[in-house]
């Protein structure tokens, strides 16, 4: 059957995964392999005096690599160059890598690791956002050479200052969100081969060209001497966006020194303690409404804890700031966003990328305003939804067809919102002391698809198709399949444009020696941006077949035959496509004005929770997720993205608490950091509206991150209703809920 956009095509990788044949990085065992380990800082801040290798240990067959073994520059190049590959002097966070060891036997390696003592002079650390803000306010020196704030963004529209005085209703709110662990089920892992002239790595990663860029800097090699291959990857969620570069550098330093391949695979405890998490946030906001509930002015002070190094925080901050006013019309907006330096391990990319934090803040604010106005939260939102022709906080005109009211109505209808709310209210009134309390909450939100502003223009992505001698069309893109279904979607897009079935289209695992740079697999851009490039390449290939004499309406078998003929005669042959920035997308990075994203995906989610008054435990018992992502390329995979994202959002809201002790994750185990199991979650109703407007294939937009933005605020709104109080901090654990039910703590603003 010919592949088609819109069909629930099966995943080409499913059977290998179901039968245990798929080889992840830890399943690969090249000849002569050594295992690598990392010596890390035990303290969050200090000056390194030295590393002492226990003389009683037999070091002769242990490979030891330190900063002096770095042939190029000792840094991980990202948006800044402040993060060393191995800290040599100043230590800026706990778990910071200092020295690398390798040995053929994992047990000996572990004994060697324990035989290294880290000697350092402690310096006073700043361990969280409030500490960083307080230190700056008190004029104390910053813990980062760039200052207390690593990035600041200001967005201004109209004049909120002129509105406050006469506004019928002013609401103010301060909300916080904690760190969240990505918890891909496959820990970080990498195997490296290296000599003086070349480096090759294979690993679990999202962005092959980011890894190549980092290796080039550290090894002082040109890109053509650095090869990065993606192994089958067991989940990423942003956690394998920037971190694998550091791991690849470490494995390659050991491999170069050892002269044989080195594998580094973190165990769960090391992975959770040392790698990135979602940025904790603190948002103070103020809004003015008229007596009909129309939003008149909005002032948001958005703060992220960047951790010890800049890494990706400036762009996480940017996406957070650009989503801070939500999908609402407002004439007067001021947004101030800052990323603060602290001494925790750097916080990093995690599905949603700053937007979950700021969507949480605006949605909490809307719920507060609805309560003050005595208005249903859905009605308040309805009165403020963006419409076509409106402008956002950055002055972006909503040119695309949007129908947020229709989307909201669909969510209300699909969830039975009004009836559920009425039933919960009645049941709560009649509830005995041991009966569960229930509530229903809502969130309306959006997610900008693709890189922010001019980001896609800078990336200038490329993708290609190669027709082999065997007549098979190979998809060559740097976009990684990490579980989300990129390979399936690419196969469908190319298959439809060519008019062939799945056997004719093979999506190759990315290998920088083979695939052009299609940009990173992040920012909900893969289907829309890279899919669009592949569609273009497929059309060029189809045109070549037409020129060979293949009729326009040829059946799949004839196309396959034409491919086989051409492949045998001329293969391998490539068709490439380069990104062309839509000229109507104009962004002013200096003033933060203009088209922040070429398009947005929109959503309205409804959650129902039940709270056990005896234990304080809250469970989500019903969840409806309605979204408009333009054309749905594969409904089965799209539903899977929504369902998985909602599950992560429910964990973010009710379970997943990173406990910090002296700048270190104290609960870095799966027995103490709790994520949702099958028994904790309801069935999730994922529904789609397909308003055209995206510039992906057939009008597809981005989807991957969207579900993280609105799930937690919908759950907290439901929790407010169930308890009759107001929650302002994520995650909400039973120990916070229980006193509220006892009436011990009133809701706050």
């Amino acid at each position: 059957m010919p592949l088609r956009i819109g069909d629930p095509s099966p995943r080409p990788d499913a059977w290998a995964k179901l039968s245990g044949k798929a080889r992840y990085v830890d399943d690969l065992r090249p000849e002569g392999l050594l295992h690598g380990a990392t010596i890390r800082s035990p303290l969050p801040r200090g000056r390194l005096r030295g590393l002492r290798l226990d003389p009683a240990f037999a070091w002769s067959d242990v490979v030891v690599a330190g900063p002096a073994d770095i042939p190029g520059r000792n840094l991980i190049p990202l948006l800044d160059e402040d993060q060393p590959a191995l800290a040599a002097d100043l230590i800026n966070h706990a778990e910071e890598p200092l020295l690398l060891l390798a040995h053929a036997d994992p047990a000996t390696l572990e004994r060697a690791r324990r035989a290294v003592a880290v000697d350092l002079d402690p310096l006073p650390p700043l361990l969280d956002l409030r500490a960083a803000m307080a230190a700056a306010a008190a004029g104390e020196p910053a813990v980062h050479p760039r200052g207390a704030v690593l990035k600041e963004i200001a967005i201004a529209k109209g004049d909120p200052g002129a509105v406050w005085a006469d506004a019928p209703l002013l609401v103010e709110s301060e909300v916080e969100t904690g760190a969240q662990e990505q918890l891909y089920l496959e820990p970080q892992g990498m195997i490296a081969w290296a000599d003086a002239r070349s480096v090759t790595v294979i690993g679990s990663l999202q962005c092959p060209y980011y890894v190549q860029h980092g290796l080039c800097a550290v090894f002082g090699l040109p890109p053509e001497q650095v090869r990065v291959i993606q192994a089958v990857t067991g989940g990423g969620f942003g956690g394998k966006e920037e971190y694998p570069t550091l791991l690849a550098v470490h494995a390659a330093l050991l491999a170069r020194k050892a002269g044989c391949p080195v594998k580094m695979v973190y165990d769960r405890a090391e992975d959770m303690a040392a790698t990135t998490k979602r940025h904790p946030s603190l948002t103070r906001s103020r809004a003015a409404f008229d007596s009909d509930g129309r939003l008149l002015a909005l002032d948001v002070d958005f703060n992220l804890d960047a951790g010890a190094y800049t890494t990706l925080s400036p762009v996480v901050l940017s996406r957070g700031a650009l989503h801070a006013s939500g999908p609402y019309r407002c004439g007067h907006v001021r947004i101030r966003a800052r990323a603060w330096a602290t001494n925790t391990p750097p916080h990093g990319a995690f599905r949603g990328f700053g937007a979950p934090q700021s969507c949480f803040a605006i949605e909490r604010l809307m719920d507060l305003a609805a309560a003050r106005l005595g208005m249903d939260p859905a009605e308040l939102r309805r009165r403020n939804l963006l419409r076509r022709g409106d402008t956002t906080a950055t002055g972006q005109v909503m040119r695309e067809e949007i129908d947020l009211e229709g989307l909201l109505d669909m969510a209300l209808a699909e969830s039975g919102y009004a009836a559920r709310r009425a039933a919960c209210a009645a049941a709560n009134t009649a509830a005995g002391p041991e009966d569960p309390r229930r509530g229903v909450g809502l969130a309306v939100f959006m997610h900008g698809a693709g890189f922010t502003g001019s980001g896609e223009k800078r990336l200038a992505s490329r993708a290609a198709l190669e027709l082999g001698c065997d007549g098979v069309v190979r998809v060559l893109a740097a976009s990684t399949e990490i579980g989300q279904g990129a390979a399936t979607v690419f196969q469908q897009i190319v298959g439809q444009a060519l008019g062939v079935d799945a056997a004719c289209v093979l999506v190759e695992p990315p290998d920088t020696d083979r695939v052009p740079d299609s940009g990173p697999t992040v920012a909900s851009r893969t289907t829309m941006v890279v899919g669009h490039l592949l569609e273009g390449a497929a059309r060029s290939l189809r045109a070549a077949l037409s020129a060979d004499g293949l009729p326009a309406a040829a059946p799949a078998a004839d196309v396959a035959e034409a491919l086989a003929r051409r492949g045998a005669a001329r293969g391998p042959e490539r068709w490439s496509e380069a990104y062309a920035h839509p000229d109507w997308v104009v962004w002013d990075e200096e003033r933060y004005q203009g088209d922040a994203y070429p398009t947005f995906a929109w959503a309205a989610y409804v959650a129902q929770v039940a709270v056990d008054p005896l234990t304080g435990e809250a469970a989500v018992e019903d969840f409806t997720a309605v979204q408009d992502i333009g054309r749905v390329v594969n409904p089965a995979l799209a539903a899977g993205q929504v369902e998985g994202g909602v599950a992560q959002g429910i964990g973010y809201a009710l379970m997943e608490e990173v406990q910090w002790r002296e700048g270190r994750m104290a609960n870095n185990r799966l027995s103490t950091y709790i994520i949702p199991t099958a028994a904790d979650l309801p069935g999730i109703r994922a529904r789609f509206r397909e308003t055209p407007g995206g510039y992906g294939p057939e009008g597809a937009k981005g989807l991957g991150e969207l579900p993280l933005d609105g799930t937690a605020p919908a759950v907290l709104a439901a929790l407010d209703m169930a308890t009759g109080t107001r929650f302002r901090r994520l995650p909400v654990l039973p120990e916070e809920i229980l006193p509220r039910l006892a009436g011990g703590e009133p809701g706050d603003g």
């Binding site: 245990g20 992840y24 037999a58 539903a639 185990r669 799966l670 099958a678």
Partner: protein, 167 residues
């Protein structure tokens, strides 16, 4: 450094008798992965995630918590032997048809847990399915496709329409 003494174990793995040498402190997980049965995954090493699940004498266990020596004389079924097992094979087909697979790391363990459930309860309801899978963490699917896949497998085993049909 002196090599640690090794012990030799005899056991049946996926239907075949095997004789393997291993370190006394090795886990069943290490033993199996050392036999190139790399479909057995390590997700946490402390029995919380279920990625390393296997059937040991028909009982579902997390192989990271079982000393290899305990498998002496026993019968082990891993994902690599699923195709020859009626319930496990049905679970594989159900998950395939219901989009219960994404990144795939949890998938082998989920198949083993689902198969063990179907051997015990041929007609599980939603709560029984969710309860049986509560020891298998999945970060990708929200469990929706997995639960639907197990339900489809149960229906197929009862002789109903194949996993592909019905709601």
């Amino acid at each position: 450094m002196a090599e640690a003494p090794r012990i030799t174990l005899e056991l049946t793995v996926n239907g075949a008798p095997r004789r393997v040498a291993t370190l006394p402190g090795a886990r069943l997980l290490d033993l199996l992965r050392g036999m190139d049965l790399t479909g057995v995954k390590e997700g946490c090493g402390e029995g919380e995630c279920g990625a390393c699940a296997v059937l040991l004498d028909g009982r579902l266990v997390n192989s990271c918590l079982v000393p290899a020596a305990q498998a002496q004389g026993s019968t082990v079924l891993t994902i690599e032997g699923a195709a020859a097992d009626r319930e496990l094979a049905a679970a594989q087909r159900g998950l395939l048809d219901r989009a219960g697979v994404q990144c795939g790391i949890c998938t082998p363990g989920v198949v083993l847990a689902a198969g063990a459930l179907l051997k015990r309860i041929p007609d599980p309801d939603e709560e029984e399915i969710r309860g049986a899978l509560a020891g298998n963490l999945c970060r990708c699917t929200g469990y929706v496709g997995i639960v639907a896949g197990v339900r489809a497998a149960a229906r197929e085993l009862r002789g109903g329409p194949s996993a592909g049909g019905g709601a």
